[in-house]
């Protein structure tokens, strides 16, 4: 008899919490009239899933990303990361969840120009509790994973767009987060670099990483196994 049997669960999904879960989460910005950027939404993303959120400009994609990345709080409802409720959590606790569970990839890369590629990747380990003695090795491994071993000591300013985004991906995964949030990851890349980054995402997904990609490009969205469309703040699962 297994633990699941004891709990009377049908399968593991009933007891293992989703990596990210919105429960009626909404975001309203005050004003006259107030703006409902995200209407009450339910969303579950389980470990190992590759989900894309697609929608046009102004549809609420960024609002959703900010909530999912714990950069903002829902006006109502709850948001759980690995089963941890975060909507009412303190700033320190949310920062800890962000550091240990979430990795970010931004459209504009957001690398620190004065730091080397290695130092940029190393940055994320500072806050996620990686011991000081392991940080450099972990960063080098992450850069090896994205094929940038030959660029460790370069400044981001001399890298191509594709290399910068791969550096950003290495930085996002170096702390082994539970979910990778990517905001328009190919928005600033040419088609060749875009393809390389998407290929990298496929590989990370194949390795078991949970990915949530927000994009306005249908072809990027199509790479995911699950797709959600956001329109005027309403989430709708696509077939």
């Amino acid at each position: 008899m297994t633990v699941l049997d004891l709990l009377g669960a049908d399968d593991a999904t009933d007891v293992v919490p989703p990596v990210v879960e919105l429960r009626g989460a909404a975001r309203q910005f005050p004003g006259d009239p107030p703006v409902n950027a995200l209407h009450p939404a339910d969303l579950q993303v389980r470990a190992g899933e590759y989900l894309s959120v697609v929608g046009p400009s102004g549809s609420g994609k960024s609002t959703l990303l900010n909530l999912l990345g714990l950069l903002d709080r829902p006006s109502s409802g709850e948001y759980l990361v690995d089963g941890i409720p975060t909507a009412q959590a303190g700033e320190r606790e949310r920062a800890a969840v962000r550091a240990q569970h979430i990795g970010f990839v931004f459209q504009a890369f957001h690398l620190l120009p004065h730091r080397t590629v290695l130092e940029n990747v190393l940055l994320a380990t500072i806050y996620s509790g990686v011991p000081r003695t392991e940080r450099r090795d972990r960063a080098a491994e992450a850069l090896d994973r994205v094929g940038l071993t030959h660029r460790l000591d370069f400044r981001p300013t001399v890298l191509s767009g594709g290399e910068r985004q791969r550096t950003a991906v290495a930085r996002a995964v170096v702390s082994q987060p539970r979910v990778l949030l990517a905001d328009e990851p190919t928005g600033n890349l040419d088609s060749e670099s875009s393809a390389a980054v998407l290929e990298l995402f496929d590989e990370l997904h194949a390795d078991g990483l949970t990915l949530l990609v927000i994009t306005h490009e249908d072809d990027v969205s199509a790479r995911a196994q699950r797709r959600v469309r956001i329109t005027d703040g309403h989430l709708r699962e696509l077939a």
Partner: protein, 402 residues
Amino acid sequence: MTGLVGAVVEAWDELRLHKMRVLLALIGVAAAVTAITAVTAAVEMLAQGFTEQDERFNGRQVTLSVDAWATSPDVQADTAALDATYATALERYGITYASRDMYTQVPFRFPGGTRPTETRAVDPDLGVMQRIGVTEGRWFTDADLQTFAPVVVVNEVFLESLGVSGLASRPTVLLGDASPVRATIVGVTPRMWQGEGPSVFVLYDQLARWYTPADPEWGPTVPSLKVWVPPEAADDLAPRLQRDVVAALPGWEVQINDNRSMGSSGLDGAARWVALGVGAFALFLGGLGLVNIALVTVRHRIREIGIRRSFGATSGRIFFGVLMESVVATVVAGVVGVVLAVAVVKNIPVDFLFGGGIQDMPPFPVSAAAVGMVCATAVGALAGLLPATVAVRVKVIDAIRY
């Protein structure tokens, strides 16, 4: 502790990356720390100069002076008994430094004729007790007490009046009028003020041996006794000395004076605070410059702060990080400032500037360096507060959209 070390390391790393910014921000702070440290050190050295100057006139702390004077012109002084009393007292109370001291006029023969000259009859210890320095030759030693012919230490004016340019020719001078004795000049004291007349130091016993003054108009005189004693013993010793001397000089008035109330300590008070005030104001101005540059820098680093926050940096960590950058920077500036101050103070002729004659030049005071470092750290912390507060208020969402 690990967090603090980590924050310091991170702060140092940031500063290393932004050398030019740091350099610009810290020039003013380093200069102000140099000023405040150098002034603090200079004031301490100046205080030493003033202390020594006081000690030349009044003796080292605490010098007790046993003065006796005849209550009428008819009383006599048994100087032999007095000397014996002095000797017994010194031995009984374990006094290491003591000197008889008598101001008198003694005739010396100059090229223009014999003329009475201001003379001080003393013992060799007075040289240490009153920091009597010589520009040439030497002060008296105990060996001089054994010489038959007198030796004298004269001032520069005396030597000039004698028509002698230095001690190389082993100059001598005739002491006394009716039957003078030839005294050897062994040392020359510096000229202390303009218009100073010739003066001489002579060993008390030698003067007593070779010269008997005419009866003074104001009655008999005896030498004072000066003793240099530890401050804690002075109060206890004074009445005992007085009692002993009274017993040896019946009919004489005996008074004990000590030099604790003499001299000035004004330099330790007002002058020091004025100097520190000027330095503090300079540091304040340097700190303002630092705040200005730090604020501009934080505004340029808004995106970086947002990125750090998105990867899990707490607002407290951001605040502490920015604050520590300022503190570490000013500590570095403080070290530079203190090193510069040491270099300046060690390489300027402080002794000359203070009028010369400082015998025990104090080492660069650690307290001055400590004051400089404390000021640097404090100004770094204060200057870091504002930019750290601005950094914490950065909205992550806005920062990464910036």
